[in-house]
Amino acid sequence: MFSLMANCCSWLKRWREPVRKVTLVMVGLDNAGKTATVKGIQGESPEDVAPTVGFSKIDLKQGRFEVTIFDLGGGKRIRGIWKNYYAESYGVIFVVDSSDAERMEETKETMSEVLRHPRISGKPILVLANKQDKEGALAEADVIECLSLEKLVNEHKCLCQIEPCSAVMGYGKKIDKSIKKGLYWLLHIIAQDFDALYERIQKDTTEQKAYEEQEKRERAERVRKIREERYFFLCDFLFPEEKEIV
């Protein structure tokens, strides 16, 4: 009887939990299958995807979570933008092309750089070992070894789960179960530590926004000055004698 009441209480507690907004950042090398994965999650065909060299995002509801996933371009020369999205992210989804053994070293270095970042360290990471449908794809254990994943996540205190999967196998309800499972895991981990994460994210995003606002103001001011100078220059040029009068 007592346990029944306790059960009831916990159920009620959960029912009264507010809707939580969670932002996740999805990164990984170019051609790893990030956009295909988010498309699949969104219920759209993951085929027919063009490389992202920029930013796009998807919103989805998952139980009590309103999830936003930032899908960022993975090409070598666009990776520089990733860090700007770390402050507001509760967790990382890192997509790996398991069939591309040649780029494992690059993947390892890239992942290390992500986890090392002060705005990411300590946050949970889901590794999707994608393209398992391809011949010669590295199995879970091999991917872990190639990336020195254990060492990496321990060093940076990131809780980690790896899911071998195939983003192109299905979408919507037929999406690869591993992707779903991984996403559940990530959200579950975030929920467990929500308050601390929330606080950290508030602090980091406030800092970043203040910085961005200041930059924006300063730039607007500089551009205004340039425009003015150009105007005065033009005036001087057109009406040189008036200047002497002034």
Partner: protein
């Protein structure tokens, strides 16, 4: 046949194009190369191009879409008229002279003001880092940083290096749609593509 990866990626993400007709607005500072780009998209001669006082429009068939591309003059005194063209825009293409570093701040400021416009809210933006044929051109990544593109959170954005002059990154190829389908280029090439275009 128009084949710009950046444009392709954005078109693929467009959901609301029921009649497959897409209105594209081409903006940017004066001398960024908007008109050259437009002519290149339409496979037209680019040898005699003068500053645009009003606007140019071209319709191009690509990827099963009919693209209506509006190119509006970019000189400072006519920029206020840009707003007359905002309505019903599906994609904004913003062109930058990648070699004109002195004006990066000004072009960034103009772009920021555009993105604040209500009528353009949520409209995906493709940034063409043009004039990559010049030795002094800044790479797209530098432009992405310089223009603070990461502060754009309310829409899809994409950056692509190109040279409207040589056609690189804006590759215009004369191929029939049928041949494309036959070769399976519609999807295959891009699914397995990389980001070399940047």
């Amino acid at each position: 046949m128009l084949e710009s990866r950046g444009l392709l990626s954005i078109l693929r993400k467009l959901k609301s194009a029921p009649d497959q007709e897409v209105r594209i607005l081409l903006l940017g500072l004066d001398n960024a190369g908007k008109t050259t780009l437009l002519k290149q998209l339409a496979s037209e001669d680019i040898s005699h191009i003068t500053p645009t006082q009003g606007f140019n429009i071209k319709s191009v068939q690509s990827q099963g879409f009919k693209l209506n591309v509006w190119d509006i003059g970019g000189q400072r005194k006519i920029r206020p008229y840009w707003r007359n063209y905002f309505e019903n825009t599906d994609v904004l293409i913003y062109v930058i002279d990648s070699a004109d570093r002195k004006r990066f701040e000004e072009t960034g400021q103009e772009l920021a003001e555009l993105l604040d416009e209500e009528k353009l809210s949520g409209v995906p933006v493709l940034i063409f880092a043009n004039k990559q044929d010049l030795l002094t051109a800044a790479p797209a990544s530098e432009i992405a940083e310089g223009l603070n593109l990461h502060t754009i959170r309310d829409r899809v954005w994409q950056i692509q290096s190109c040279s409207a002059l040589t056609g690189e990154g804006v590759q215009v190829r004369e191929r029939s749609a049928l041949a494309d389908r036959h070769l399976g280029l519609d999807g295959d090439m891009d699914t397995h593509g990389d980001s070399r275009s940047l």
